[in-house]
């Protein structure tokens, strides 16, 4: 079974689940955990844990992949919990999933970390420094109180987006150098999904402008690439 972790408001998550064969994927959201994701997890013997996901009773080994489309749960998603307890329940469920996803031995898009349910939870500033250390040109950035200071629009540059899923770059027209940059970062940080904005001056060089590690499944081409990746992985 493939778990798709998402937000109940993200309709693309249902579309993603439906792209897999019937019963092969299951959607997990903060809003349905109490009803359709029942767990009895043994911390000393994780593989012996018992899971009931929807109508299926399975062991952790039967989870063949995870697609985590959220970095965090939010208290307001636990609408069925009394308002005063939502922050607590949110923290507890988050703590559980960081552990649970980490323990699963299957392909994860993206693997969780102590900071996020998907990916390393790194600030853009950390990504820029990381990219710079790999020799990837970085477009000058400025933040004031956390808000990007947008430079004056320039007609001599073009921006574009490139997304890597596994070893494949979704955008067919992405330049080879950009593909190489994404592959280098994806491998170095063990993040099979990365999405980046680049800037081109038209001289054959490409500058990284921003980078995200939580899969964006609202884009149909991304969903197709993710399904293909999971099918390869399983």
């Amino acid at each position: 079974m493939i778990l798709v972790l998402s937000n109940v408001a993200n309709e693309s998550a249902n579309e993603l689940v439906e792209m897999f064969p019937p019963e092969a994927a299951s959607l997990v959201t903060a809003s349905n955990i109490h009803a359709s994701f029942k767990i009895a997890v043994s911390v000393a013997n994780f593989e012996a844990s018992e899971l009931a996901i929807g109508a299926a009773r399975i062991s952790p080994a039967e989870i063949s992949g995870v697609i985590s489309t959220i970095a965090h749960f939010f208290p307001q998603e636990f609408y069925y919990i009394e308002r005063a307890d939502r922050e607590y329940v949110c923290a507890e469920v988050s703590a559980f999933f960081v552990y649970f996803l980490s323990e699963l031995r299957c392909k994860k898009l993206n693997p969780p970390s102590s900071r996020a349910l998907s990916g390393l939870g790194m600030h853009g500033m950390e990504w820029m420094k990381a990219a710079h250390s790999f020799g990837i040109p970085v477009w000058p950035a400025e933040l004031k109180n956390g808000v990007p200071v947008e430079p004056a629009a320039r007609e001599d540059v073009q921006s574009f987006r490139a997304t890597i899923v596994g070893d494949s770059v979704v955008e067919e027209d992405a330049p080879e150098r950009v593909r190489a940059y994404l592959r280098a970062l994806s491998r170095a940080y063990s993040m099979p999904y990365l999405c980046a904005d680049f800037i081109s001056r038209g001289d054959g060089e490409y500058f990284l402008r921003g980078l995200w590690s939580v899969p964006d499944i609202t884009i149909p081409a991304n969903r197709e690439a993710i399904v293909a990746f999971m099918k390869r992985a399983t």
Binding site: I33, H34, F37, K38, I39, A40, V41, S42, V43, A44, E50, A52, Y80, I81, Y88, V89, A91, E92, V93, S94, A95, F96, V98, Y99, S102, E103, S113, S114, R115, L120, G121, M122, H123, G124, M125, E126, M128, K129, A130, H132, P137, V138, P140, A141, E142, L143, K144, N145, G146, V147, F207
Partner: protein, 305 residues
């Protein structure tokens, strides 16, 4: 320069600041309570690298000079000027962004940061941390996480002496599961709950500061010693236990940790948790152990390199 970022009414921060001041160390105290009057500018380019300047009441502080940082988080929403403001008000948003940006700057910097966000966040999930604790060579208690009342009931039948506590970093009083709790067992269906087999023995707390171990033995009339009459005496850990504490702290990527240990009557050592931002003054005041001095020593030494 040493940066202290927190509030002065937080006793570990105050004790560290006092220790640094007594040493005459070069430090700057960035008051978290001034966050409403604080601004942060950041710029990055391939040519220059990164640059970060914080302004408090228009006074600039160049963060590039920070070689060591000690950070103790506070929730600014508890401050008077924020308490009545809605979550999406410009003031709340700006304070949140300020925090995130300064945290990110420190995380990405080459400074010795006590402690960085990623390692600190391991404490947000106790079972996640338990995996690492086991990898470091410690015993961990048998435990169940469940949102299924029937499974929880089975575990409690098999392990009648069990405790329950939070999975996350939200503070909870560790309590033995008693008959009164069993009548609420159906509540487990609404939230994953953490049950752990009770391990009898003597509590120890080890503070690890860049490899140096400061341990205390704790006697208490309560299961959760933080909420009872407790006494502490300075203790020396067996060499192999001390080594596991060092290994665990290093594995977690921490410079400073507070490790909760239990020695059983049989001489086995269990580890329950690693506090990644230890409120060490509680232990300092009850044991006389000079943890703040050791922390200041480490920071001054790191700053001088």
């Amino acid at each position: 320069m040493i940066l202290l970022w927190g509030t002065i009414d937080d006793s570990p921060m105050a004790a560290t600041r006092d220790a640094l001041a007594r040493y005459g160390a070069d430090f700057f105290f960035l008051d978290h309570r001034a966050i409403a009057r604080s601004e942060i500018d950041y710029a990055f380019s391939s040519q220059m690298g990164g640059r970060c300047v914080v302004r408090v009441a228009n006074e600039p502080i160049d963060m590039s000079g920070v070689k060591v940082a000690y950070v103790r988080g506070s929730d600014f929403r508890d401050y008077d000027e924020f308490r009545e403001l809605p979550a999406h008000s410009p003031q709340v948003m700006q304070a949140g962004w300020f925090e995130a940006q300064l945290r990110a700057w420190l995380d990405a910097s080459d400074a010795v940061v006590i402690n960085r966000s990623g390692p600190s966040a391991t404490n947000y999930s106790k079972p996640y941390q338990m995996t690492l604790i086991r990898q470091a060579g410690f015993l961990v208690p048998e435990a169940l996480i469940s949102n299924d009342a029937a499974a929880a009931t089975r575990f409690l039948s098999e392990n009648p002496d069990s405790i329950y506590k939070s999975l996350s970093a939200v503070r909870s009083i560790v309590r033995k599961v008693g008959d009164s709790h069993r009548s609420f067992i159906e509540d487990v269906n609404w939230c994953p709950t953490f049950f752990q087999k009770l391990i009898p023995g003597t509590n120890y707390r080890a503070h690890v500061i860049n490899g140096e171990i400061l341990a205390v033995r704790i006697e208490s009339d309560q299961l959760d010693y933080r909420y009872g009459k407790s006494s502490m005496t300075v203790a020396e850990l067996p060499l192999e236990v001390a080594e596991k504490c060092r290994r665990l702290t290093a594995m977690l990527g921490l410079y400073f940790s507070g490790i909760d240990l239990m020695r059983t009557p049989q001489g086995d050592w269990y580890c329950f948790e690693v506090n990644t931002s230890p409120a060490f003054t509680y232990f300092e005041s009850l044991s006389g152990q000079r943890i703040s001095i050791a922390l200041a020593d480490f920071m001054i030494d790191a700053d001088s390199r």
